[in-house]
């Protein structure tokens, strides 16, 4: 048996193991979404029971998308006197402040607050902006939306109702969809990935383990928790994942509610997408490194599974994909020869079919997504978009190593927005 054979066995075993894990999560996610679809997601409260909610919107040079976002927030079917919108204009150099002032003037019946920061106080990332917003927030619950979001009217109500229904829930997260999914083929890939990974996978983990991770937008969290943990970690690029782990360590759980939907603008150009994903991956690596010690701590509860999951993704999955692609390319060039019997084209084809079926099952739960066009896209995705993930993680690893070695400060790279067609 050659080294190539051993590596092949490792890659095949690891890829299949991760894929089967994903299949199991998909089935759990399907059952959970199917059930919540039947109830609709709402748990109505008496009028007086709806608490005050502060909706935080961190914005750094978001002039292109912010007006649309604020209008969507104003449109919430939540008691108008029970929520405030706090936009943190975080050291913007565009006309964000002007737009916000106009909006506040145009909708005096709504509580729209704009906090503008300079480079001294602000401009150092989303966590810092959220902490600034939180310092002036009056609500007993805090909702967070990114500046490019257009949530559906009932989204906030659903989230709040579900959080109020269970004292052991620390936060409730919703689902986010891709508003500009038809912009480019990349945004269509992102749309499918978002539905699959962010929604189905989260729902599966919640179904089996009552475990999910805050996605960074469209969620509601108890003020008391934020006060206890001291707000968001300003060093974390993935402040959402980081705060999720802290919530679990406090003994709360996070609920996933797919009926609370927000639509957001996703990167439609490869460089923008790559930059955003590298930031996410770096953030996840930071959180994983920071929390890895809890994997052996029983008190950490189900969060240990999440750490393990991330660890598997960034070690086993990454290495097996790198190895399999390396062997595949080597084989095509005639440099590497794998002599294994029994592991060849069929297993490879079956893996692709499982991948496609998994994604199509996710799309079957969505309106206008389960189409032949999507099937073609999903088939194409495995060989194109999915491969980019390897480069994203490798770049993130490299950056993390360099940052650590040279003690460079972690920078927040804002995702570049663009004007969508109306």
């Amino acid at each position: 048996m050659t080294a190539a054979d051993i590596l092949s066995i490792y890659a095949i075993a690891a890829i299949w193991a991760m894929m089967l894990l994903n299949v199991v999560l998909s089935i759990g996610g399907y059952i959970y979404i199917y059930r919540t679809n039947q109830t609709g997601g709402s748990i109505p409260l008496r009028e007086e029971e709806y608490p005050m909610v502060s909706v935080l919107v961190p914005a750094h040079n978001e002039a292109l998308v912010l007006e649309r976002t604020v209008k969507a927030l104003i449109n919430f079917d939540y008691p108008r006197d029970r929520f405030e919108i706090i936009v943190i204009n975080d050291n913007s150099s565009d006309n964000t402040e002007e737009i916000l002032s106009n909006l506040a003037a145009s909708y005096p019946e709504n509580r729209i607050m704009c906090i503008s920061t300079d480079s001294v106080v602000g401009g150092s990332g989303k966590s810092n902006a959220l902490n600034i917003g939180f310092s002036v927030a009056k609500g007993s619950l805090i909702a967070v939306y990114d500046a490019d979001n257009t949530p559906e009217p009932p989204a906030l109500r659903y989230l709040v109702e579900n959080l109020m229904a269970d004292d052991s829930a620390g936060a409730v997260i919703g689902k986010f969809r891709t508003r500009n999914r038809n912009a480019t083929i990349l945004s269509r890939f992102v749309n499918i990935e978002t539905l699959s990974h962010q929604c189905m996978n989260q729902a599966g983990r919640f179904f089996f383990f009552k475990l999910c991770t805050i996605p960074g937008t469209n969620y509601v969290i108890r003020r008391s928790i934020l006060e206890e943990i001291g707000g968001w970690d300003v060093k974390a690029l993935s402040e959402d994942t980081e705060i999720s782990f802290r919530i679990y360590r406090m003994g709360y759980y996070i609920k996933m509610l797919p009926q609370a939907v927000t639509w957001e603008q996703e990167p439609h150009l490869l460089p923008v997408w790559f930059k955003q994903r590298v930031r996410w991956a770096k953030g996840n690596l930071y959180v994983m490194a920071k929390n890895f010690k809890y994997i052996f701590d029983r008190k950490a509860g189900p969060m240990r599974l999440d750490i393990l999951y991330y660890a598997l993704i960034y070690t086993i999955m990454l290495s097996s994909l790198v190895v399999s692609d390396f062997i595949f390319l080597g084989g095509m060039l005639g440099i590497i020869h794998v002599k294994l019997g029994g592991f060849s084209i069929t297993l490879w084809v079956m893996a692709i079919l499982v991948f496609i079926a998994d994604l199509m099952l996710t799309l079957s739960l969505e309106r206008n997504e389960f189409t032949l066009g999507s099937l073609a896209l999903v088939s194409l995705m495995m060989f194109t978009y999915a491969k980019l993930w390897i480069f994203v993680v490798l770049k993130a690893l490299w950056d993390t190593i360099i940052d650590t070695l040279f003690k460079r400060e972690v920078k927040w790279d804002k995702t570049v927005r663009y004007v969508e067609g109306q």
Binding site: I27, N37, A72, G342, A357, M360, S364
Partner: protein
Amino acid sequence: MKFKSLLSVFLGLLLILTAAIPAGAEEEQAESTQGEILVIYPLEADRHFSDDSLSAIAQVLLSLRYTADFVEAEKAAEMLPLYENVIWCALSGSSRMDPSLLSRYSGKVMVLGQASGMEKFGLLSPGEDRQEMLAVAEYVFSDDYSFQASVRTLSPGTLPDADYTRGTLETKNGIFPLACGREDFHYIALADYTSDFAKAVLTQETAQWLWPYTSRMHVYTQQLVLDSVYPFTDPDRLSAFVHYMAELRMNYVISVMPIYQNEDYPAMQQFCEVLRYAQANGGSVILHAPVTQNTLRAEELEDRLTVATCNYFRHGVYPLALEIPSEWLFREDLYEILRRYRTVFLSEMDAFSSHTVKEYNLGRYLRLGLQQISPALCLEDNALSHNAQYSAMVSVDPGVTEDESIYAVIDAIRDSPIPMQSLWDMEEAVYLNDSHYLRWDKNTLIVDGEVRTNQYEPVPYDNNHQYQRNAYFRFVANLSRQNHFLIALSVLELVVFILLGIRSRKQMHGRFLRKKEPETSERN
């Protein structure tokens, strides 16, 4: 009362009868498993060659088709009366066997090894030290062939009133007969039987010892076997050999390796074309057992042999016998396969060891009644047999033997006094299953119920063969070899996902038809 008495008598008779039946059956069974020869060996087999010699003796007896039982000297007394023939192995210097044990025995006795202490048989040995020594032995195998070799001996002796002597043994103590005998007693002075020379001597002397008549012994034939010929090997090389043999009008055997797939390839057609020509011109084809047989169960092996044989049948090539390794002799689960053949070729004797021969009764195999052709005992480089006492197989493997050497063997075997015989001159049968079989009664060849001929008829090659090498065929071929568990799991997962997908589509359809929800993205 009368009825009760009658019933008691009836039951009593029934009990006696039922008790008697198993007893008789056991006796019959005991008789059926007993060998024809009892081989007595010293308990203290303190030298490795003693054990190796036991294996060699077992091989020789198998080639001669004698069934034998092996027993330690200390346990021999009670078994002796059951046997008509006894071989006494006095191969070790510290042998503690009591010769008086055999002196009371009235059957045939053959002593191997030392003569010292064997005075009761009339053997006289000048050496009392029982020290092993090297000697030069010369043995006459036939009228015009004798062979000299350096051998190991242990206090050899003479039999003054011998009525039979053969060969000489020249030692530092003098010259002794290599083999001698008187009436039912026989003696061979060799103490080590691991060499082919010693095995050849033992073969000839054992046959002589047990030959019940005064006439010359029966002469068995030898087979020249072109061994382990793989399909898809160079047909020109095989063709040259076949034509050469046809010119010489010599009989020979081609042992072909099994083939399970791609039997319709043009290369296979060309290969079988040569085999068909060989069949019609002095050659016979036999099938070589699969080389991976040790890992296969009997059923799998049977299936493979059936597939491989049928693949040759399709090309008009008719394997008449099966070539097997010696491991098969010690695997009783394979006997059902062997029963389906009339003739088997034993390709080697690697599986023989003192352990296997002591523990295992090869009589079970010999009682299958197969025509057996055993490996030739080669005294010289030409691989020829010099024993006419059993059917021998002179084997040359073209995969490892140069053409010059092969043709040298052919030339040498032409001059051999031992005759050759074609398998087509014997009755042969191969039963694979109810629908696939071969019968040859020296006149008519019946294959799968149809009369066939072994005469050569050229068949045009398929020049436009579809090799089915595209991705689709590779996929289909791979499918049967894949990890079935993962495939089953994937198929199950696909079915579950499709069913769930149908269900969710129904839910979505009902949801959005009942209640129209504006889509935010479009609204915005």
